[in-house]
Symmetry: C2
Subunit: 181 residues, 2 copies
């Protein structure tokens, strides 16, 4: 299975702290392999996410600081493709864009903006596909979640996170957590 | 088609402003009929969402201030069911919980917490179903998005929002908006 990594662009440490944390949580819970916070650093979020991975298992990388252009360049040099999530792009429901992405069989870097993104993101130099999770004003966190759910055909939600110290036993009522050391 | 309304519980005006805005945006973009911000008020978010609905069309209600118990009571009195989204609940992928909810044919109130929620939310007095969008730590915005996408079987993403002043024409490159007055 190809791997998916998120490129979070435009993060503003104060203003976007919680949203970027949610983007990273969603990415991890839905089967992405990691996230890159480009062009800035935020050690607090990195720590939060790494603690969660330590407790709840699986592998999820968190990188930060690199310039987005270099991340994209390196990704492409390694044979991956780039998907830019934007409300202006091809509608994931109404077009065959997801099928094209999946059938490429290549690793996918998903660019998720926070503020208004540079025009270049829409160009062939950067994105192989511009994908809209519907063409309405949206939440990038919600859009990413749906992209991943559809890309992995729902299977991430049943995924076993290895080396987990904590595990939820799903049930209809109440809470049940199993801890192991 | 039954209607879906979101009950956003535990909103803290300063801290949760952007996340709750994203929850509301996701709800609207994905076909919910409205949102209730319970037990508190936040006129700024209400205004933001109402402006978006005015420009981008469709109908989406925004209520605030009511006590969550009264919202739930009224919803049930009108024949609706209540779904509580929580990482502890029945896994939407691994169980038949979504099929049960859909086959009820009833309107659905979805409770989406922000902070740790009251224990009562898990009880039969409040929730008909406790549903987990995977059993990992998660973003409530992402979870809500996936629930709605699955509930409406993806169709919301193609939905026509009536009386829209602005409309995106989806395309592979660049941005295209059509405005009408």
């Amino acid at each position: 299975m190809p791997k998916i990594v998120i490129l979070r662009w435009g993060h503003r440490p104060q203003r976007d702290a919680r949203l970027t944390t949610h983007v990273a949580l969603a990415a991890r819970a839905l089967g992405a392999s990691g996230i890159v916070l480009s062009d800035t650093e935020d050690s607090k979020i990195k720590e939060t996410i790494e603690k969660i991975t330590q407790s709840w298992g699986g592998e999820f990388s968190f990188e930060m600081g690199a310039h987005w252009k270099n991340v994209v360049k390196k990704w492409k040099a390694n044979g991956g493709i780039v998907v830019h999530l934007t409300a202006y792009g091809e509608n994931i429901e109404a077009s065959n864009v997801l099928r094209k992405i999946r059938s490429s069989g290549k690793d996918v870097l998903i660019i998720v903006g926070s503020q208004k993104v540079p025009k270049e993101f829409y160009s062939e130099q950067v994105s192989d596909f511009n994908v809209a999770i519907g063409n309405q004003p949206h939440s990038e966190c919600a859009s990413l979640a749906i992209f991943l759910d559809r890309y992995f055909e729902g299977k991430s939600l049943e995924k076993n996170f290895e080396n987990a110290k904590m595990k939820i036993i799903p049930q209809g009522r109440g809470k049940r957590i199993v801890e192991s050391r």
